[in-house]
């Protein structure tokens, strides 16, 4: 019972916190430099892990699918299946999981440590609202970066699949691309994937900044908050993926 009350209370605090962040976002357009700096630390610094992961996921998908499709003599459809898997599901979901692990945990730890070292209190006493100056730019940066990272993940994944499928296993290059062109719809597939990644970016960034801001300001408190960010945002991404998929592909 106590755990339930705690969870509801945290959800309430998180929602109020989110409303404060959203209220602070219009001010950020006057200080967009703050967001640009955060897009670098949240987005650009997650790029390397996203590129490597995307490449390997695409390569493994191509390998697995090639052996299965050979049985049916349908290896020409390899590019299309890889593309649909990546654009619809794996791109947004795996990129969001990587984002939660790399950028989400870093955001929570950074904000948590700022709280523990009284930097947030210091800002408040300087009559500067830390939600507007520290939290909102990080939230917005996460929200902007996530769809871009998911798109890069999918693009690199397709290139990885091409290198394995076409260069290594001998699938026809023309068939690989033309199947993609013919069967992948921009609105149904690509746009839905982008919408998913926008939603995931919102959720992961929200959880990450809230956990940092709400943490107990001790070493243990920050460590726990960082763990909670990764666990909660990963689970939330997977659950939301199911809900969004059910709505999008009825």
């Amino acid at each position: 019972m106590k755990a339930l009350i705690n969870s509801v209370s945290r959800l309430g605090r998180g929602t109020i916190f989110l409303s404060k962040i959203l209220a602070g976002i219009p001010q950020l357009f006057l200080r967009f430099q703050l967001v640009v700096q955060q897009v670098y630390s949240v987005g650009v610094q997650t790029l390397f892990i996203t590129l490597i992961a995307g490449l390997f996921v695409g390569m493994v998908l191509a390998l697995q699918l090639y052996y299965t499709l050979t049985t049916f003599g349908a290896t020409d459809t390899l590019g299309m299946i890889v593309d649909l898997s990546l654009v619809r599901e794996l791109g947004p979901v795996v990129a969001a999981l990587l984002f939660a692990g790399r950028a989400g945990s870093a955001l929570t730890a950074e904000i948590g440590l700022m709280k523990a070292t009284e930097q947030l209190s210091g800002l408040e006493m300087m009559a500067v609202d830390p939600v507007h100056r520290i939290i909102a730019p990080r939230f917005l940066a996460g929200f902007i970066s996530m769809p871009l990272l998911a798109a890069i993940f999918s693009a690199v994944g397709i290139l990885g699949a091409y290198s394995v499928g076409v260069d290594l296993l001998g699938v026809d290059s023309g068939a690989f691309w033309s199947q993609i062109q013919a069967k992948v719809d921009f609105y149904d597939d690509v746009m839905n994937g982008i919408i998913k990644s926008v939603v995931f970016g919102f959720i992961v960034s929200w959880i990450a900044v809230f956990e940092g801001y709400d943490c107990i300001p001790t070493s243990e408190g920050v460590a726990r908050a960082t763990t909670r960010t990764v666990v909660h945002s990963s689970l939330a991404v997977l659950a939301m993926d199911f809900v969004l998929t059910a709505i999008m592909y009825q």
Binding site: E118, M125, M126, A127
Partner: protein
């Protein structure tokens, strides 16, 4: 005696089940250095956070410069805070900004001054704390004492009417300690500030304080000028000033006696 810049009346504040303040009254006079002293965990830092409006009391009121801190609208509270400097125990410098940028931060946020004027002002503040040549360093490159001096320069950046010092002497080597003591005294005199120094370092704090308040177990147990406190025969004051292990603040944590606890084990 000058008028009270800060008036605290019947202040009650609790954290969970533990009562931190149980009806505190206190006047902090303008232009003076007031030391708020007491054993660790008595809520000295909490008192500063209440004065700064970062925490809300359960009951009672805090008037700063004629304004009730906890009834102000957010915008008005922020305006009042621009007149309140605070030096945190850890310094609370923004770790991703250089010393120069840390001090420039409140100026950039609250004024429309040109970059060249901000540069001059920052260097003047740094000169006052003896660190004008350290403006390019990052907070991680500073010693604890230097970090507090930079934080003091930042607290002075907007020329406040008062500065609150949270444990400024804790963990300082004798030289840094001497520097900080001198800076607090000189700053208060030169800028005609009102200073509140929260500390349990008796000698250093008494050397610069004009007024002293001792709080313990949620109450103000002694208040007066420095001389009055030094010569007080109150057992609370004597225990604290002389560092006696036992007295009104007991050596043993309250609870069952050792005999009762041992007997419980046997049963």
């Amino acid at each position: 005696m000058t008028q009270a810049l800060i008036q605290i009346r019947n202040l009650h504040f609790s954290r969970g089940r533990s009562k931190i303040f149980d009806g505190i009254d206190m006047d902090i006079h303008a232009g003076r250095i007031t030391a708020v002293m007491g054993p660790s965990g008595t809520g000295k830092t909490t008192l500063l956070k209440l004065i700064g409006g970062q925490l809300k009391p359960d009951a009672g009121e805090i008037m700063v410069d004629g304004l009730n801190v906890h009834q102000l609208k957010r915008a008005d509270l922020y305006k009042l805070r621009q007149k309140m400097g605070m030096l945190f125990q850890s310094g609370a410098l923004l770790t991703d900004l250089s010393v120069f940028e840390n001090i420039a931060y409140p100026l950039r946020e609250h004024t429309n001054l040109s970059d060249s004027l901000i540069r001059s002002m920052v260097l003047i503040k740094l000169q006052a704390v003896g660190l004008s040549s350290a403006h390019h360093l990052m907070p991680s490159e500073l010693s604890g004492g230097m970090a507090r001096r930079v934080a003091l320069a930042r607290a002075m950046a907007l020329d406040p009417m008062m500065i609150m010092y949270d444990e400024p002497f804790t963990g300082q080597d004798p030289i840094s300690l001497g520097v900080l003591v001198k800076l607090i005294r000189d700053t208060n005199n030169a800028l005609k500030l009102t200073s509140i120094v929260v500390s349990h370092d008796v000698d250093e704090t008494l050397s610069i304080a004009d007024d002293v308040k001792i709080i313990s177990q949620g109450k103000v147990v002694a208040a007066g000028t420095k001389e009055e406190i030094k010569h007080s025969d109150s057992p609370w004051v004597r225990q604290f000033i002389d560092g006696q292990a036992d007295g009104p603040v007991p050596f043993h944590y309250p609870g069952d006696t050792i005999e009762q606890q041992l007997l419980q084990d046997i049963r």
